[in-house]
Symmetry: C2
Subunit: 186 residues, 2 copies
DNA sequence: TGTTCTGTACAGTTTTTTCTGTACAAACTT
DNA sequence: AAGTTTGTACAGAAAAAACTGTACAGAACA
């Protein structure tokens, strides 16, 4: 794992690796919550324990995967702000390390995902409401279609109300209100 | 859409369908947030607008897909509590309708997903902590491995702290505390 | 400027997921 | 009890996603 192995025995190395591997395995798997691949999750776990920022080549060696895959994996993690690029003089390779502020990672991720969905949904719902209202204003609308349209409108309004709520939840996450409800430790 | 089309003109039908289709398309796509397929998302959208509970055959006809797919799709949505099975005398087919309480759906889904991850992560982290402590107690541990183990332990403790927080967030969602921070409308 | 090295684009392969048609068990009807 | 009908299991086809190796542009160095 990029450590100078002369400084410790083989058994010690093995023991540490065994512990890390199990944690990486589980944490990596559960990162599917963030919509990332199992292998990208493992990559994250690897970086989590890395004693120093890693290069693509090092990751590839540890993961036994191609550098191309490391490149795309790291990019995914960068996009999610789960990994940061690190500058280090001397090395001309790019170096990466995990973002250790998991609270931030969590908040960032879901705020971004949900916001995107909320915005596009609200847009289409409002547009639909307008069109329904326009149709309802037509004097020659059959009684039957008026009933249908009214029902649809109610459903859409309810959905809109929900998305406004979710939007406020996202706000609460982004500006730290959530931490008032559920405080961080220490 | 299961409506008696004698009661309204073809243009009216088309107009309603056009509006619904656009909403279904967008809402369905954004349901990938819930880890469900685009087509299952569409199925959900279809049920959302349905004027009455639908059968698998009706869904298949509307979606232009096989009944098998409808069966699996509905089961997915049932598992996520996004759709309910409805009993109606006279029909011997199973009937389904969407769960209109989106707040509940949202809360349910993420509480379940996150809880599963939190539990398995906490378990593996605590087990790792124990092992690290055991190794650290060994008198013949090299200075170097002690340093590594201590670093790992710190990282794991930090992660553990984060998961405890997330666990409390989930609690807050499940027992409705979240609605105190961000109230529902009306 | 020429040389070396690093990250990624891209095409092709492998793996995974989704979807369909058939077959059948269980439930309902007569 | 015999005859329908309904939902799903299962195997195979189709589609999508993940992964790899090669090739190359651009940066770093000499």
């Amino acid at each position: 794992m990029g450590l100078d192995q002369n400084q410790w025995s083989e058994e010690e190395h093995q023991a540490v690796q065994r512990i890390r591997k199990r944690v990486i395995e589980v944490v990596g798997r559960n990162m599917e919550l963030y919509g990332i691949t199992l292998s990208t999750g493992h990559l994250y776990g690897l970086l989590f324990f890395a004693d120093k920022p890693m290069t693509l080549d090092e990751m590839g060696r540890e993961m036994q995967m191609s550098k191309t895959s490391m490149s795309t994996g790291v990019r995914t993690l960068l996009d999610l702000n789960m990994v940061n690029k690190v500058w280090e003089k001397g090395s001309r390779k790019d170096l990466y390390e995990v973002e250790y502020d998991w609270y931030q990672t969590f908040t960032d991720y879901f705020a971004t995902q949900w916001r995107r969905a909320v915005e596009s949904n609200l847009q289409v719902l409002r547009r639909a409401l307008k069109e329904i209202d326009r149709l309802l204003e037509q004097p020659d609308a059959s009684e039957f279609v008026v009933e249908i349209l009214t029902k649809d409108r109610d459903k859409i309004r309810q959905a809109e109300s929900y998305y406004r709520w979710l939007d406020r939840v996202i706000d609460a996450m982004e500006d730290g209100e959530l931490y008032k409800l559920v405080p961080r430790e220490s």
